[in-house]
Symmetry: D2
Subunit: 322 residues, 4 copies
Amino acid sequence: MTRVHVWGASGYAAAEAVRLLHAHPAIDLGVLESASHMGERIGDHFPLLRCAPYRFDAPGSVLDAAGEGDAVITAGSEEDARRVVPALLARGVRVVDLSALYRFDPAAAYGLTEWRRSEIAQARLVANPGCYPTAALLGLLPLAGQDAPQHVVIDAKSGITGAGRSPRVGSLFAEVAGDIHAYGLTGHRHQPEIERYLHGGGMETRITFTPHVVPLARGMLVDAYAIFDRAVDAGAIEAAYARAYAATPFVRLLAGHEIPSVAAVVGTNDAELRVDVRGAVVRVICAIDNLGKGAAGQAVQNLNVMLGFPDETGLSANVAVA
Amino acid sequence: MTRVHVWGASGYAAAEAVRLLHAHPAIDLGVLESASHMGERIGDHFPLLRCAPYRFDAPGSVLDAAGEGDAVITAGSEEDARRVVPALLARGVRVVDLSALYRFDPAAAYGLTEWRRSEIAQARLVANPGCYPTAALLGLLPLAGQDAPQHVVIDAKSGITGAGRSPRVGSLFAEVAGDIHAYGLTGHRHQPEIERYLHGGGMETRITFTPHVVPLARGMLVDAYAIFDRAVDAGAIEAAYARAYAATPFVRLLAGHEIPSVAAVVGTNDAELRVDVRGAVVRVICAIDNLGKGAAGQAVQNLNVMLGFPDETGLSANVAVA
Amino acid sequence: MTRVHVWGASGYAAAEAVRLLHAHPAIDLGVLESASHMGERIGDHFPLLRCAPYRFDAPGSVLDAAGEGDAVITAGSEEDARRVVPALLARGVRVVDLSALYRFDPAAAYGLTEWRRSEIAQARLVANPGCYPTAALLGLLPLAGQDAPQHVVIDAKSGITGAGRSPRVGSLFAEVAGDIHAYGLTGHRHQPEIERYLHGGGMETRITFTPHVVPLARGMLVDAYAIFDRAVDAGAIEAAYARAYAATPFVRLLAGHEIPSVAAVVGTNDAELRVDVRGAVVRVICAIDNLGKGAAGQAVQNLNVMLGFPDETGLSANVAVA
Amino acid sequence: MTRVHVWGASGYAAAEAVRLLHAHPAIDLGVLESASHMGERIGDHFPLLRCAPYRFDAPGSVLDAAGEGDAVITAGSEEDARRVVPALLARGVRVVDLSALYRFDPAAAYGLTEWRRSEIAQARLVANPGCYPTAALLGLLPLAGQDAPQHVVIDAKSGITGAGRSPRVGSLFAEVAGDIHAYGLTGHRHQPEIERYLHGGGMETRITFTPHVVPLARGMLVDAYAIFDRAVDAGAIEAAYARAYAATPFVRLLAGHEIPSVAAVVGTNDAELRVDVRGAVVRVICAIDNLGKGAAGQAVQNLNVMLGFPDETGLSANVAVA
């Protein structure tokens, strides 16, 4: 059994990580550090963990407890990560960091598991991808072998847990229910992350990215439209997608009357993906749980890869509950 | 045209008051004072007021602007009211206060319009009732002429705007959607208000009050159960309800297959009421909009009474939009 | 006062038309014909019309009642329209038809009010546009004066009332809440309608159209992305939008920090529109109420134009309630 | 491994049973019979079962397949049960019936597991309780040792899956979202079931039962108020509850600041229970998942008891996912 600690355990993604690690057959859940909630039961803050036997630990607990061979999920801000991650690495601890701090840093493996498996397997530090980049890149990277499209439009819809658990007016029930709107129109921090790894994957293209808030607690749907300057070969593209995900347990390629659906992935580490080619346009639709494959699920999948467990360990209950 | 100002204009009830006063044919909307949002457009904070031509004014604006003959809706905390209301009254201004401060104060008229009309008509200061008390008292006061019940159970369900617009974790979309729970089990501040005015209405009884949060932005349903120690006379009770509300424009008595419904009252000043008598138990169900009849709607109705307008003035669009 | 009847009065759009006509100062609501609900109170089927004094009338009632000078909103299926509309026209009655039957028919004016005002003013028959086409065309037609874009992507999100009130599993609360998914991937009947009137407006381009169901009862957000083969002149495009909607009461052009929001238009006939130009891409976002500007609101606006009333008559309460 | 078949597999409770049995370590899922969906994949109808490898089987399949030692969950109507259950029992098959048919029948064990364990263990036929009775009886039966209360008020709030998956207008998203209302005011079929088993448990009392629909897909909250004619002994009552549920894995007694919450039980077989005594009134609040402990979860728990497995088998993931 490997011990895994969670640093910054009071947000939605951290709570989901606790839920997954609690049920993981090869991992012992260690210290749950939270400066703001120290001493309190995690179940008092998250109804879905009401009967879990954990309390939030005091600042410094993870550094005190983490020893050689342990791993840590750091779920704080970029500033937190800057302070804590190096100290953890210095103790010989493996780290999966949920913040954006290391996503452009060559010292970390970029944790898009299906595309970076071998780097992740050898990494001491994994930068877990953002939720939008996870869905967008899973959807677009199989296209990278083609000639670059002229333009890519990414129209993304996210549940409000993507905005975190710190209370703000815009996340209140009375604001989110009954509304849909775009945001970040002049630039969302996930856009350069998507572009960086599309380019890294070999697709040199410009993208237009529009994120939206929709009245969902969890779940994310990303529609990506690649516009080419001439008709593309549908068979070759479909084959590229089939090849890319043939051996992966969590990416489900849909076709025919099956359409990616947030309800089919909430509570899981699954991604549903569908590609339709018409003339010079390739439309890819990807559904994930922003807290699952978009955050805590992928973090646990990355831990599995780092620790030498099969990807599905502790994530195999791939029938959703919603 | 009477000028009406709104003090503390940044909460949900205040915004609803602005919406109603904006469309009121006999009232000019004056100053909208908000310390936290001064200078900003009200439509930037409330989508439903996007095209309304108002900005939040600076602290002190209402006191500066309010003159003899004007009226003010004060929509701040009890502390705010303690500071502002006496100064307003001193200028000869009529005040409807939405806080709880004056609800037990004999210097103010208690603004349950259908039951306190003549006092309200002569008052300079009206204490607008809480939302739960409004629904509970509309439902129970017609029983006051009977022998007192042995016990009254009030089981109330409220939309989350009742908790205000200050951001707190418990009001986040991700916490409210998909959940129902009771709160305030050891005592809610509305319980003494309900008891005070039941007793004042002649019903000396003990009550058990359980408020719940339900996944609604607006609207409230209150089920009240009066348990008598012997069978009661159904016909007499139904007649008492019919009599109590025969001449009122906003209270709708339902019967037969009609059942009070939040969807039927949201956006209006209406109350839907239904009484069922079976043996020794009288069940009364009341639906209101917590921001309408439970706050801003009733405030405008009280202004109408104070200013000598028919109750329905500016409130007559009694077909809901939701 | 002009008499307006509603044929096929039992769906969501028809009920919204009844709500609007009930409050219209220059229109008397006539017969509400519904084969399925004849004799029943409209308020028993639509909570928001609980206190409206109307009953559904029997089949044939509209034809019997409608006389010279009257108007009728027909809100049935295409088959219904084929049967009823010619008979109504034969009696000298003006008709606004909500079905898709006449949307490609040169005998009818296409009822996109802001773009077809003079035809509508002279028409006996107006084919009211579909909800998606209304939002998409309001967003894209100002671009028609430019060189044609290489491609247009339309990613649309609709509340479930767009699917009608006939019960089907896919519209159940337990299916819609907590989910988002695309549909009609192999062709939605609104796509040719959008293309027809883009082409008619002078924009010869190919479109990719993806509609989605989101967990909303009412409201629609349409993101349209026009991809040009070279950078476009942002100033010229913004000027074209400003010019197109300068004199219209219901289309609100947003800029700066203002973003179109479904919550800002629900319950109204408003459309919120925002254009952002970046290089060779123009992104237009449009929010409407699918039952308002996307159906009943625009139908009443068209009636106003046909009958010589100002557009806003009966629609001027343009502060939303939601 | 015991084989368990599901008869009438196309409703919400049946799908939840399939989800649970799919993951059950001691049960093999057999035939899933559905007349309406035969041949289709279960994942095409239930997103949360998208990747489950099952198809609906033809009418007659369960009777053909079920052999000695197998068990069947029958999830059809009462009429279905009348036709199918006797034939299954005649083959020596154990049956848990979800319909109301056998709930008053002495030939069946009443499947309220915590209170009928020994009968269930020996039964060939278990009548699974209704969802409202499950929550109400778990909440009230520990009181049965006391003198009977004068009256019991049960105010219940249910998610809409309780109304089934057959499409009807009242279950549409656009009707349920934004509304709360009571129903069945003149008598709900669960009321006699509650009374029957309260009386059977020794509590001879009259009850007033008011069910409500709330905007939830899953989950149920039941507030029960027992009104006694004199003050009761709080300590004795709390002790009775502690005793009743001390050895049970799924009933969680809450106290202090902990309040039963639907979000804490959705997706699980858990029940959260809280008792507050004040004077002559005992208030009990119980939260369950209507599809979990209120239907499929309890059915699997009953199968476990019938088959000699520990209660928690296949149900032990008692950390909720929502």
